[in-house]
Symmetry: D2
Subunit: 272 residues, 4 copies
C-alpha cells in the first residue's frame, strides 16, 4: 500500500492495525501477499508491517549480485521511514537470516526477535542445496519438484494432495515460468550463500524466540539448537511433525508463539 | 483475596487485571501463591483468576476421600460465582487433568484451553508413582527426594544447585513436615488415581494447546502425543530439554505460549 | 565374480566367506562395488552374497520400464541359483524396498531381515522427489546437487568437505555424465514409483530389524516408525545425527547391527 | 559355578561357552541370575562370563562403606583369575559405571566396551534419586514403588500388567523384605555417589558402543549423548520408546547390538 525509495529502488511495504510495531520478514519465495491468512490476527493488537525485500513481490528488482546485507539496509531504511525507535522482528528462513544480520549491526533498534526455521550460517550443505535450486531454474516443473516438496513435511505434503497438486499447477504455470521471477530467485538464493554470523552473535543480548520444526529438511532442527546455544537471551521450542514451512503447516502455533512472545509485558520472570 | 462457599467449604481465589478471563489451574503441590512471578504478565491484558482447589493453599481441607470431579465442580462454581459465560483455562499437570474433565462436562463454558504436562488418564505406571509419594509421607526428606527431583529436568536441577538446596531445606522444614499439608497431598494424589477421560475426549471440539516437555518424567511427552491425537482441534508443541515443572524451567515460553494462544483474535487461519 | 542368466539378461553377483548366507541388497545408486569396506567384516563368519540388480553395476541394462517386482524375481532366481533353502537379507533404501516386496511373496525363503532407511511405500512426496531427480538427469552437476547432499546428514556433509568435494568431481565427471548410467538411474527410480506393500505386510512374521536415521531426509524416521507398527515381529532402533546414507556415516553401527541380528543364535528371549 | 577370593571375600562368577571372552557387568539390583534368558545366545559363540559384584547375588557382603573402585578391583581380580590378556566388557547402568572406571585404570586389558544406560558421573540429581531409594529401605512396598516403575518405560509397565504385578508381589515378599539384601542395596547405591570420570575419559581410546533409551528416567539419553562426546572412539545408538531396563524391554536389540559389536572382525572401516 506504500513505497519508499532505497538507493534509487522502490521498496514496497504495508502497515495494518495499531499497537507495538511488528515487522514480518519473508522467506525467500514469499512476498507481502504470503501473509494474507495472518493479517487479521497479527494486526488485531499490533502495528503489523509487511515488507517485500528487493527482488521480492512488488519491490524493485536488483539485477546485479548482492548479499543479504543489502536487505539489512532495506530493513533499516524502512524503520527510519516509519520513524520507529524500536521494533519487533519476525523472520522465517531467509527473513530470519536477514533479521539475525540486522541485529548484529542495529541491535538497539530491536525490542524482541522471533525466528522460525532460521540458520546462523549457510553451511556447505545448504549452499549446495541452493545451487541445485538455481540449476533447475530453466524448467518450471523441475524447479517446483526440486524446491517445494522438501519445504513441507512428508506428512503434510501427502495428506493435502489436492492443495499441493493445485499449487504445482499454479506455480509451474505462472511464477516458475516467469523469467523475471526466476532471475530474482537465483539472485536471492545467491545473496544468502555467504551468510555466517556465528562469531557476531556472541555479543547479542536481544530477547529471542527460536522455533524449529522436527521435519525441517532445509534448516534442520540441529541448526536452531546451535543458534540457541549462541544466543544468550534466547528461548527455544520445537514443533513436532512439522516441516520447513511451519507458518503454513502450523498457522495457529505460528500465530500464538509470535504474538505471545512479542506482546508479553514481561518475559524476564524467573524462580531462581 | 476472596472466598466463595462451595458445599459448605470456603474456596479461595484471586482476580487481577482486566480483559479476557483466564483461570489458572494449579498442579498438585501448588497454590495461588505459586503464580507470583507470572501475575504481572498474565494480568497485563487479561482478567487473571487464580484458584486454590479444595485441599490446596487457602481453600478448606476436605477430610474424606474424593475424585477430581469434586474439583471440577469447584471450578464450575467459581465460574458461576464470577458470572462468566465463557472463560479460558490453563492447567498444568493436576490442574490440566481437572481442565480436561471439566471440558467433557461443561464444554460450552470454555473458550480456549491450554494444557501443560497433562495426561488424559492416570496409567498404572503413574498410579504406582503416586503410591510411592504417599508411602513417603511420614518422612519430610524422603517425601522431598521422592517427589521433587523427578519434577525437574536433570539439567535444570543440576545447574541450579543453590536454589534447589534452599528449596530442600525450606520444604522439608515447613510444608513437608506439616501433617495437615501432607494429609492434603495424600488426598489430592488419591483423587487423581481413577482419572481417565480417553473415551470422553472424542467429542470435544474446544481449541486446545497441548505442551509437552522432552524430559518430563511424570507425564512423559508420549502422553501429550496421545492427547493430541484424541483432541480434534488441538495444537501441539514440545519444549526441548525441559522437565515436568515447565512453568519454572521455561517461564518465558510458558507465558508466551499461554497468552499468545488465549489472546489471538483468530486461530482458525489455514492455507488449505 | 559370477553371472547367472535371468530372462535372457546377465545378472552379476559375488560370494565371499562361509557361514549363514547373507545377501546385501543395494540402494538405488549403489552396486556390488559399494560394499568394499564391509566385505572383510561381513564375510568373516558369513557367506556374504553381493548382487547387482538389473540396471545396476555389472548386471545387464533393461531398456523397457519395469517395477521393483522384476528385481524381486532377480533375487529369487539368485537364491535358486545358489541353491539355498533360506537366506538372510539386508536391504538399504531401494534394496530394502525390494526385500520387503520379496518377503510378501517368498517369506519361507527368508530367515531374518535387516532394513536400513526403508519405506513400505513410495508416498506422493517421495515420488515427487524422485521426479526431481529424473528431471535433472541431463546435467551432471545438477543431478549431483539434487541427489547427493540430501542423502547425507548436514553434519557429515559439512564435516567431510574434502571427501565430498572429491566425490562431486568424480561423480559429475564420470557416472553422472554417462548417458547409459543415467538412463539406468531414471528406470530404477521409476521402478519404485508404485511401491506400496502396506496391506501385504500385515501377514508377515519374519523377524525383522528396522533401523532409521534421525536426519534421513529421503525416507524420514517416521517411515520406519510406521513400518515397525506394520511388522509384527520387528525390532526398531534409531541412529542419532545420521543421514539416509547410514552405511557410510555409521559403518561400525551398520556392521554391528546387521551381523549381530543375523548371527544371534536366539532372538526370542523374553522376560514376560 | 565358581568362586575366587578377593581381599578375604568370596566372589561368585560363572563361565559359559567358548570364544572371545565377554564379561557382563550387572546393574545395581541384578545378579548373575538376571542373565538367564540371554545365556544361550551370549555363549553360542563367546566365552560368556557372569559376575556378582561384592554385595550382589552369591558374592560376599561388604559391611563397611566403599566406592565403585572396589568393584573395579574385583573385576580386575577376575580377569587375572581367568588369565585373560584382553576381554570385552558389557555394562548396564551400575555395571557400565564400573566398566567406565575400569577402562580409565586398566585400558590395556579391554578389547571392546559396550555400555547400556550408563552415566559418566552421578549428578546431584541422580544422587538425590539414590537417596530417595535408600530412605525407602524399611518398607518393602515403598522401596518397590520408588525404584521399580521409574526403571521401565511407562508403555512397557502399562502393557505388561500381569508380569509387573507378579514382580511386585514377589519382590516385596522376598528380597525387598530381606534386611541383608536391603543393606547391600543401600551400600551399593552409596558406592556410586561419588562417581565422576568426566576428566579421565578424555584419554580413553577403547572402541565403545553407547546405547541410550528414549524413555530412560534414571540415566536419561542426554547422559549418553554427553558420554558419546567425551569418548573419542565411541558409536552411539538410541532405542526408541524404551526405558532404563533396556535389556528386559528390548532383549533382541540388546543381544544383537552387544554380540554384533563385540564379535565384528573389524569396526574401523570408513569411506573417508
Amino acid at each position: 500500500m506504500a513505497y519508499f525509495e532505497f538507493q534509487g529502488k522502490n521498496v514496497y511495504y504495508e502497515t495494518h492495525g495499531e499497537g507495538k510495531p511488528l515487522i514480518l520478514l519473508n522467506g525467500i519465495m514469499m512476498s507481502t501477499k504470503s501473509w494474507g491468512i495472518f493479517k487479521e490476527a497479527f494486526s488485531a493488537n499490533n502495528r503489523l508491517i509487511l515488507l517485500d525485500f528487493l527482488d521480492q513481490g512488488q519491490s524493485d528488482k536488483v539485477v546485479e549480485e548482492y548479499t543479504q546485507d543489502l536487505q539489512v539496509e532495506v530493513l533499516h531504511a524502512l524503520i527510519k521511514e516509519l520513524n520507529y525507535e524500536r521494533v519487533n522482528l519476525l523472520g522465517i528462513s531467509y527473513g530470519g537470516e536477514v533479521a539475525l544480520r540486522f541485529i548484529t549491526k542495529y541491535e538497539s533498534l530491536v525490542d524482541r526477535l522471533v525466528l522460525f526455521n532460521t540458520s546462523h550460517r549457510t553451511s556447505p550443505w545448504l549452499k549446495d542445496i541452493g545451487d541445485a535450486w538455481n540449476l533447475s531454474r530453466d524448467n518450471a516443473l523441475d524447479y517446483y519438484l526440486t524446491t517445494i516438496p522438501v519445504i513441507y513435511s512428508p506428512e503434510f505434503y501427502n495428506r493435502n494432495r489436492e492443495w499441493m497438486e493445485n499449487r504445482k499447477k499454479l506455480l509451474t504455470a505462472t511464477v516458475f515460468s516467469d523469467k523475471n521471477f526466476m532471475d530474482s530467485m537465483v539472485r536471492l538464493t545467491r545473496s544468502a550463500e555467504t551468510h555466517d554470523v556465528t562469531e557476531d552473535l556472541k555479543d547479542v543480548r536481544t530477547r529471542t524466540l527460536i522455533v524449529s520444526s522436527e521435519n525441517d529438511f532445509i534448516t534442520p532442527k540441529e541448526e536452531q539448537e546451535a543458534l540457541h546455544k549462541l544466543l544468550v537471551n534466547s528461548d527455544y521450542v520445537m514443533l513436532p511433525k512439522t516441516g520447513h514451512g511451519s507458518m503454513y503447516e502450523r498457522p495457529a502455533l505460528f500465530t500464538a508463539l509470535t504474538l505471545g512472545y512479542i506482546n508479553a509485558s514481561d518475559l524476564e520472570m524467573t524462580v531462581l
